[in-house]
Amino acid sequence: MRVMVMVKATADSEAGKMPTEQLLSDMMAFNEQLVKAGIMLAGDGLHPSSKGKRVRFSGSKRTVIDGPFTETKELIAGYWIWQVHSMDEAIEWVKRCPNPMETVSEIEIRPFFEADDFGAEFTPELRAKEERLRAEAAALAR
């Protein structure tokens, strides 16, 4: 199974405070372990939300909102994508992660949707449409 592992933002990370050298080297060592264990598919750090934008949807209206955003605990500062055998395995790996922040912080683990999870709600028509969109996105990403 695939999971996204999200490092939640803190006041410090939102203020753009860079991690200490010690934390950086600990994190690098942890990343190396993930790669060596063959579970890390991707991962990166994110700028504070002050450099982010949001697009709000209301009916047919689209409004662009500039960062920073206030609900710090709901923001993410970085993420990984892992391939693990179970949620328990993901938890064990997360426990081994160095504390990513100097203050109290959280890491959230969320399993990816597999196509089967959509069940009957996800009709073949919807599926086809979603796939077309993905193809276009992929084409643009190249």
């Binding site: 063959g38 579970i39 598919l41 991707a42 328990d88 077309r132 992929a138 084409a139």
Partner: protein
């Protein structure tokens, strides 16, 4: 292993999956016997199952398991009254890791882990063992799978797998297989054996040879994980990256190659929007690493390069068939095989038309090793359809359906045969 009954047991199972290979690898270094090392590791696991529900999971579970297993090893040799020399050696190994704190143990282990894992992988895939034994032992020792999981994955009764593993360990002990990373001329052959085992596991997951399921994705994931681990252990081996590239790119199609009813969908008919771009990206990166190491590409890297041609084509009509033909030419020269020749024929038919492909296929019809191979008539049937020779195509599809072991594939082939009749 006990069924997990609560959170701690589930945590222990997860810890085992993460730690068992390193644990066993480290123990083999000390006791020089795979069977004994695994027993000691299992003992440590049992101790964890007894103690952790009470004491909680230790902060460094890997180090806990290792020091417990080492203590058991010392007990074992004391009871057996082993020669002083062996005893002394073991005592020394143990002293070197003093003080016995979690941190120092881990630091101590870290330098050796890569070598331990690599040696363990070479032992598990040793040519003295049968292919089936290599597969079972590799999944068990390196993949951290239980006997039950391996049996389920290969649709074999559990006692069969258990026996296979016991026999394999005995064979290794009797043959006195040295505990080492092979060097020189031997190394290439041994690496080939390891790669062969990993790719076999992958293929067993990717195109199940028997049973009702076209794919068993967990085996693909296990093989990919082993391949990625090996790429970290032996980063200078181009073919390791070649194999990883091949598996990543093939796995990227897994969502697209099965229809809603579980029926297989062939490459050219797949909805490419369902291909996994993340895995394709990883595959192309691995292929670039294999190419950057230099020298001519090996068989896995060549197959990966072919897979990459498909992965790069967003639409089937964008496929660079002439390049694929050239890669098959190289592959065919490197590892001549009727199966590769058959694939080359398909590529030629795409580059130069079905008649050109059919000519190559014709030269394979009398090939004894392809006599029971369902893809030969399947390909012939496909080319004959394109040439409008439907009657001949139909009997080829029927023949292919008769030969395949896979239920879903048989169904697909019979459908194609029926379609020839209707037209």
């Amino acid at each position: 292993m006990t069924e997990p009954v609560n959170e701690t047991h589930r945590a222990i199972e997860a810890v085992w999956r993460i730690e068992s290979a390193r644990l066993i690898g480290g123990l083999v270094r000390i006791v020089r016997d795979v069977g004994l090392a695994e027993d000691l590791a299992q003992d440590a696991l049992v101790a964890a199952l007894e103690q952790w529900p009470e004491s909680g999971v230790p902060r460094n579970p890997g180090a806990w398991l290792m020091s417990t297993a080492r203590r058991r090893a010392i007990d074992h040799f004391r009871h057996r009254g082993m020669a002083d020399q062996k005893h002394e050696q073991l005592g020394r190994e143990f002293d070197e890791s003093q003080p016995d704190t979690a941190e120092s143990l881990v630091g101590d282990m870290d330098d050796d882990i890569s070598d331990d894992l690599l040696r363990l992988l070479f032992i598990a895939c040793h040519p003295v063992l049968s292919i089936e034994a290599r597969v079972a032992l590799t999944l068990r020792l390196l993949g951290g799978l239980t006997t039950t999981e391996i049996a389920r994955a290969f649709l074999v009764p559990e006692p069969t797998i258990a026996q296979r593993i016991v026999r394999a360990k005995r064979t290794l002990a009797e043959a006195r297989v040295p505990y080492e990373v092979p060097r020189g001329a031997d190394r290439a052959a041994r690496i080939t054996s390891v790669l062969g085992v990993i790719y076999l596991v992958f293929n067993e997951g990717y195109s199940a040879t028997a049973g009702d399921d076209w794919m068993r994705p967990a085996l693909c994931e296990d093989a990919l994980r082993l391949g990625r681990i090996l790429a970290g252990l032996a980063p200078d081996e181009a073919e390791v990256h070649g194999l990883v590239a091949l598996m990543e790119i093939q796995a990227s199609r897994s969502r697209a190659r099965v229809g809603p009813g579980g029926e297989p969908i062939l490459l050219m008919d797949q909805d490419r929007a369902r291909w996994d771009r993340l895995l394709i990206g990883r595959g192309l990166t691995a292929l670039a690493r294999a190419e950057a190491i230099g020298g001519s590409l090996g068989p896995y890297a060549l197959q990966a390069a072919i897979a990459a041609c498909h992965a790069r084509a967003l639409r089937p009509e964008d496929t660079d068939w002439p390049r694929i033909v050239a890669l098959y030419d190289a592959l065919s020269e490197l590892t001549p095989s009727p199966v590769i020749e058959l694939n080359r024929a398909v590529a030629i038919s795409m580059a130069d038309g079905p008649a050109a492909g059919l000519d190559v296929v014709a030269s394979l019809v009398d090939e004894p090793s392809l006599r029971g191979y369902h893809l030969l008539p399947a390909v012939r049937g496909d080319l004959l359809v394109k040439l409008g020779r439907l009657g001949e195509a139909r009997s080829e599809f029927e023949r292919a359906a008769f030969l395949t072991q896979n239920t879903r594939e048989r169904h697909l082939l019979l459908e194609r045969a029926a379609a020839c009749q209707q037209s």
